[in-house]
């Protein structure tokens, strides 16, 4: 798999503060990469370096095969950016903002107009296209910003908190659009605080803390990795003795909670197989069986609350 973004030892200092400290990671072509971290961890600084807004003090970043410092125009031509704060021109109409983007990305006028019409229709803004952006709601502005970022059909999209403070409709529209774009081959670099969003959307997530990368993996593997023991919740259609469950292969301990048994196991797979075999051998049916993996929130907190 090719890397769309390759970052090596990227560093940024503001005075004596090291905002981003020699981070290295890569984003594969066609994936949705979630970039997570607490406030002030260095997420936005990293995104700004990757999008060529500020230069790094050390290290390098290859974006779409171009060094963002040495060939910024060639790199920027291939990606779109949706920043955290809406930054469309408030004194221009939605249409004029899109045409400006078309000109800045070198799109032929006819092509830009066609794309602008299509995107405004998709975003539900076509009827408001001749209104100045200053009269738009936050959700409308954010949809327009996304349309502006997509006008030139980029192969890579940077998004910084794209759904922050939006209503449910706008959030769902943006998330489903991101999924569609990714299905069509667009690589997405998503900075977010929303763990549920990252969990549902991202193929891999990177977690940054105090300017350093502390973890990069698929959300499920990241969740599994933070706990050495796993929890399984099971209930049967008949009473079963706890001692019998505790003696099963792979099971460390059992606890009764209401009509369910909560089982801790070193090997989740072995414990589930043992439970199924136990049910068959003892003539009891399994009513519910859930694996209680830690959430991405828990993984995030565990990884970001350590000593600096």
């Amino acid at each position: 798999m090719q890397d769309t973004i390759e970052v090596k030892n990227l560093t940024k200092k503001f005075g004596t503060t090291i905002a981003v400290d020699h981070i290295s990671f890569s984003v594969h072509e066609g994936e949705i990469f979630g970039f997570l971290g607490p406030n002030g961890a260095g997420k936005t600084t990293t995104t700004r370096m990757l999008t060529g807004v500020i230069p790094p003090d050390a290290g390098f970043a290859l974006v779409l095969g171009h060094d963002i410092c040495r060939s910024p125009v060639l790199a920027k031509q291939g990606f779109g950016v949706v920043p955290e704060t809406s930054n469309a021109y408030a004194d221009l109409t939605a249409w004029q903002n899109l045409m400006l983007m078309g000109d800045l990305y070198g799109l032929p006028r006819v092509r830009a107009a066609q794309r602008a019409s299509d995107l405004l229709a998709t975003m539900g803004l076509l009827e408001r296209k001749d209104q100045k952006v200053q009269g738009f709601s936050k959700g409308m502005k954010q949809r327009l910003i996304l349309a502006m970022a997509l006008l030139h059909e980029p192969g890579l999209l940077f998004l910084d908190e794209p759904t922050g403070g939006l209503d449910v409709q706008s959030t769902q529209m943006i998330l489903s659009m991101l999924r569609e774009l990714n299905r069509a081959g667009t690589t997405i670099f998503l900075t977010t605080h929303n763990m549920e969003e990252a969990n549902r959307l991202c193929h891999r997530v990177g977690i940054i803390r105090s300017g350093k990368m502390v973890a990069i993996d698929a959300p499920e593997r990241l969740k599994a990795a933070i706990d050495r023991v796993h929890r399984v919740e099971v209930s049967f259609d008949h009473e079963v003795p706890g001692d019998a469950l505790a003696g099963l292969a792979g099971v460390i301990s059992v606890n009764r909670t209401g009509d369910k048994w909560q089982i801790t196991a070193e090997d989740k797979d072995a414990a589930i197989r043992s439970l199924v075999t136990f049910g068959i051998q003892n003539g009891v049916a399994i009513v519910t069986l859930n694996t209680l993996a830690p959430s991405l929130d828990e993984a995030f907190l565990r990884l970001t609350q350590g000593e600096d």
Partner: protein, 251 residues
């Protein structure tokens, strides 16, 4: 298409120009300020120094108008855009800082030329003969480029507070008007005043405008044009170099 090539970057600079004109220049207050400010200054001096001929004052009015209009808005564009975060959008687009600066310069050049042509028309309307129109119009273009570069130079300090820049701008612009032979003829200036006047590009432009209307001039015409051209190139190169250095500090 090579997005980093000169022709493509010129096209994108022109997009910046059109955006600037639409957002910052085609505003009633800006247009009114552009016309009225020099006219009021001119009227003040007309009433205060009745011994100066009208042709002398009109030439000064043309010089002042171009200087004030070409430097009126451009110093504040970067601070405004920095405040509104639209500068960050431009910084993430495939356009060089030089092209953004050039686009801003072109907008103020066009604005300056249009307003200045109004004052030239006022001069002609008051019955002044245009003796060297073939010199005047190209020189207005050259001086507009020069003054636009000065406007962008004033925007170099990386602040996103427009009032700071406008204060700095006024501190530099007003003294420049008084040392450039607009209200006091160069012939009547003391030697220290002349030394200061030599350092001002407005001096050479005003001298050329005066030559166009009256035929009189202090410096040789070619020397005026050469001085303006040198100032234009130096200021343009300087503003592009300095903005490239300070731009990241605005973000």
């Amino acid at each position: 298409m090579n997005p980093a090539g000169y022709s493509e970057q010129m096209r994108r600079a022109w997009a910046i120009t059109r955006k600037d004109i639409r957002i910052y220049y085609l505003k009633g207050p800006v247009l009114i300020f552009g016309v009225f400010m020099p006219v009021f200054l001119f009227l003040a001096f007309l009433m205060g120094s009745r011994q100066l001929p009208l042709a002398f004052l009109i030439s000064g009015l043309v010089g002042m108008t171009l200087f004030f209009t070409a430097t009126a808005v451009s110093p504040a564009i970067f601070p405004w855009e920095g405040q509104a975060k639209t500068l960050e959008r431009l910084a993430s687009c495939p356009i060089t800082i030089e092209a953004v600066v050039l686009g801003d310069m072109m907008a103020s050049t066009i604005f300056g030329i249009i307003i200045t042509l109004v004052t030239v028309a006022i001069g002609l309307g008051l019955g002044l003969p245009l003796l060297h129109g073939i010199i005047l119009f190209p020189v207005i273009l050259l001086a507009a480029c020069c003054f636009s570069a000065i406007g962008m130079l004033l925007a170099v300090p990386p602040t996103n507070v427009p009032s700071n820049i406008m204060m700095l701008s006024s501190l530099l612009k007003f003294p420049l008007v008084f040392i450039s032979g607009i209200f006091v003829p160069l012939e009547q200036m003391p030697s220290w005043g002349l030394v200061l006047a030599f350092c001002s590009p407005l001096t050479y432009f005003t001298d050329l405008v005066r030559y166009s209307f009256t035929g009189a001039h202090y410096f040789p015409v070619l020397a005026d044009i050469a001085a303006l051209a040198i100032f234009t190139m130096a200021f343009t190169a300087g503003t592009m170099y300095l903005h490239k250095r300070t731009m990241p500090r605005r973000m």
